[in-house]
Amino acid sequence: MSTANIVAVGASPLGRTDLPGRDLFSKALAEAFEELPDPADVVDGLYVGAQSERYENQIMQGTLMAEWAGLRNVPAERVEACAAAGALALKNAVRDVRAGVHDAVLACGVEKMTAGGTEGATNALGAAFERALEQRSGITAPATYALLAQRYLHETDATERDLAKIAVKNHRNAASNPRAMFQEAVDLETVMDAVDVAPPLKLYDCAPVTDGAAAVVVANDEVASDLLDREDAVRVAGVGSAANNLAVAERNLTYVEGANVAASTAYEDAGVDPADIDVAEVHDAFTVCEALLAEAAEFAPEGRGIETVEDPGDRSAGWTDVRINTSGGLKARGHPIGATGLLQAVEAYEQLTGRAGERQVTDADTALLINEGGVADAHTVATVLEAQ
């Protein structure tokens, strides 16, 4: 089996932008290939994560992105797992490189969420939920996660204030991330006083609707050493994924079992333990997810996931010293659905190669990414990355 390495990353600006999806992709690609030969000289195929064709009424995203990258007659596929589509694109690229099918593959993700307004985004995202009983009850993304949050607050001693602190922490992290959509801190009272979206979740408990794209080049050792110095590559040490039930009602509301399976699989694949992870980007589409995923990744004891906001020395016994969502997370960096899993990889790449600037975690050698699609662990992809 070949080793898969991330050798280059790029991202578009995040937020409400004036560029269509394909042009956002061009931005991300241009950054990733800034110091490399042309994409056609490097990669043999691509995967593109894209949640919905409803935003821009365009499918065949694999073909389109390949054209925009100057590639022709290569395997080029769109993958879809709602918000986990980006990590799924990465996972497929890693699989192909490991298997020796390709020497280098481009994993990318793109979503132009603002194209149809708030109503368009709400309706497009609604398609992620079970049709017969959930969609036909008028459910939305914040409401499905609110069902998890409400039960979490009922079963644990966590409070709405604890969830708010997660938003405050992630905004603080985003303030030093030049890629972030919201580069400013917010205080606890602002979060607590914000308008209800789906109780107990308020405005700042929810990741924003975001336009954006990201691109990650995955290559075997030979290509990696042709292109870069060894320390500029990050090894993809482990991958795992799992699908749980589509309907939120049919899952454990306070323990994201599918995410635990995905993370455990990735740990095993990489030969690491949760305690080995220095930095983690976990899918905080809503604040409660960060707490649930800290537990599912086995960083935190059950019911104590809310302590992601504390410094390692101040956490409960049984916690690891991991730093979570140094990028600002989906919450504050932004959440362009299909690109999100790859934006997590961009942050980990920067942390593990010492490029994270003010938010650099000292001696960060091992990272975990958890990207989820549907409600929470309806589909989870987990990835372990290691510095060279």
Partner: protein, 156 residues
Amino acid sequence: MTDTDSTTTGPLAPDDITADSPFTLPGFFDALAEGRLVAARCTECDEHMLPPRPACYGCGSRAVTIEEQPRTGEVISYTSVNRPPSAFDHLAPITVAVVELDSSARLTGRVDASLEDVTIGDRVELQVRDPESVDIDLDFDLSYEEDWPIHVFELV
């Protein structure tokens, strides 16, 4: 005819999978329109699946049977959809809940009550509404959904 008292277990044969079988969505909603809420029950591990499925996600067995469900249950989580998808705009804010029926089957549904009047542990009863009376935007329905009833819970 929708057979809700089936004692059949084991993998469904191709000929069993028809629009009047409760193992298909049309059959499930036909039964619901007649007032019968049915779930699949796994005869190996007793998992309940609502709507019915041809295989058990709990243990993988295809030895599933159809069982009529109690219409009463308990709210295990709830929230409010303040900005619903456009087809449901006129209903906003929508109170929704995850309900565990007295059989242990679970489903999500609207609750016909204000958010302030609902809490975890509340008893609810399933009601079946004509889609026209709910007045959901017709564009929302797929061709095969037009006559399917809409489920909603009432506090009891």
